[in-house]
Assembly symmetry: C2
Homo-oligomer: 313 residues x 2
């Protein structure tokens, strides 16, 4: 990856599906993951190791992860809400584990019934689990600061709190930090300010990622703002599927196709074939007929004479 | 207006309506204009002086402009496609006249059956008309470079051509220049590059405006990019209504409510009351039941604890 390139993690099979009404058949999930990987998406968050009684959608987490692990060139990511989930994920062969920690105490209590400090302690226990793995198989842990840009329960979230949580996660042994706009409250000025502050605290070269929702329409503008202050890793979902079941009103991640279009049109390489990616919408969502799909580029079509940057790197 | 503030021109009654299937009753247009002005919108493009046989929607242009001219604190803008339209507009009391000049020759021929050079000559004739007015009543002319970021007929549009047209319009006597992404092809990098190039050519302090469509989802990101290089005047439409009837696939301007939300959340003053503005959607579009409305903030609601910058200037 060149300095100007971006990495995009498709989080649809996890963030996109956790809030849908109906179960997506395991075969459809596998086909979706394979099709996106074939379009050049090298990182996909494929499932959540959360108890099936809480989110039945992820009852097949082990099987989906096993499939994703078999796809050449793909690094699957899994989400875990707690230590037990992390144990399951590692046992299932997870190579990259996303652990959300709510900076908002109100959201943390509502989401996992723990204070933010307790969630950080749990994260430290997960880093112990990972350190106990054989070095060659050691999984990476991403500490995700959720509600980093505001919370629909608490309202504003202090930037000092986000910096403190990010520092604690790094100190506990995180391999990367993610800042997540869980409920779609972020604005571009805030994005620049917060990413600058966190990067200054954890180190400019420490891996950092951005997870934006498009709830209030600013998803791409926020991604642009983050790019401008040096962020090169973004989450998004095909068709803008998704939301947070514990945060009322939070629906719709940044649309992967539109995000890829924005970057490619700017001359920023994503490594993704936009035409193939758009075609995946039909494959993936045939199995979810009631899902509300978003996204502009799939409807409007590519500009005449559009030159993607595909494989320029 | 402070240096960091932005001015927003609502162009819905013109750009938004020219492509709708049904006629919006004159009384509804007047009510829409009054309601937006009451929400703090100080500039509204209210009609087009185009022959009614071409676009029947604007058969009531004189009456709508007369109403808009009577609204306290509002500067109405009108669009004219040619010299005859300009004569009609000035006779009707127009104070600010928007004249689109297609930088794309293909679009110019398709739209007004003139080459770009011929359209610039027409623009010069319009400046003669304005100069013949009594100085106190003199209307302002905005030279709008349409298809400045690409054209669905021609494809790419050379940046040197845009600079050349902008310079010619300024030399002919334009009071301001607008760069319009008529068909939604612009990307943030291009926006920065082109506005920088044009401002360098016409002068950093010469009034310049941005007109973005959201056809491919990048409208707000493009507005952010333009803001970052010093642009402080933006067009948009309530509910994202609109498009260009002569440019296939071009539907949906930037959504005024979402644009105001973006700027206000960044701490940039728009002078517009966002709550009142969102309420105008219902008033305005009751008269257009079949229109497709866009926009996120009206559906998602304001963030908890959101502090608008209203009247901070």
């Amino acid at each position: 990856m060149h300095a100007g390139d971006v990495a995009i993690t498709e989080v649809g099979p996890r963030d996109g599906l956790q809030n849908t009404g109906s179960f997506m058949p395991t075969a459809a999930k596998k086909a979706w993951i394979s099709a996106e990987a074939a379009a050049g998406v090298r990182s996909i968050e494929v499932c959540s190791f959360v108890p099936a009684k809480l989110i039945p959608q992820f009852v097949d987490a082990e099987e989906v992860l096993a499939h994703a692990n078999s796809v050449t060139g793909l690094t699957p990511v899994v989400l875990v809400p707690n230590v037990k989930g992390c144990e399951r994920a590692l046992a299932a062969g997870a190579r990259r584990v996303m652990v959300p920690i709510s900076v908002s105490e109100a959201h943390s209590m509502s989401n996992v019934r723990k204070t933010t400090a307790q969630a950080i302690e749990d994260f430290a226990r997960m880093t112990d689990l990972v350190r106990a793995q054989a070095k060659a198989q050691r999984a990476q842990l991403v500490g995700a600061c959720s509600t980093a840009f505001g919370c629909s329960l608490q309202g504003a979230v202090a930037e000092a709190d986000v910096v403190r949580v990010a520092l604690a996660l790094r100190a506990a042994g995180a391999d990367a930090i993610s800042l997540a706009d869980t409920v779609g409250y972020a604005n571009p000025e805030q994005v620049k300010r917060l990413f600058r502050a966190v990067r200054k605290a954890i180190g400019e070269n420490f891996p950092i990622e951005a997870h934006f929702h498009n709830t209030r329409g600013l998803g791409l503008a926020n991604a642009l703002a983050a790019y401008e202050v040096g962020v090169r890793h973004f989450d998004s979902t095909l068709g803008g599927l998704g939301g947070c079941p514990f945060a009322p009103g939070a629906s719709g991640n940044v649309v992967t196709e539109d995000l890829v279009f924005m970057f490619e049109s700017m001359g920023v390489n994503t490594g993704i074939d936009l035409g193939k990616l758009i075609a995946v919408r039909q494959t993936a969502f045939a199995a979810l007929p009631e899902a509300e799909l978003y996204g502009h580029i799939a409807k409007a079509g590519l500009p005449k004479g559009f030159q993607p940057r595909l494989h320029a790197a």
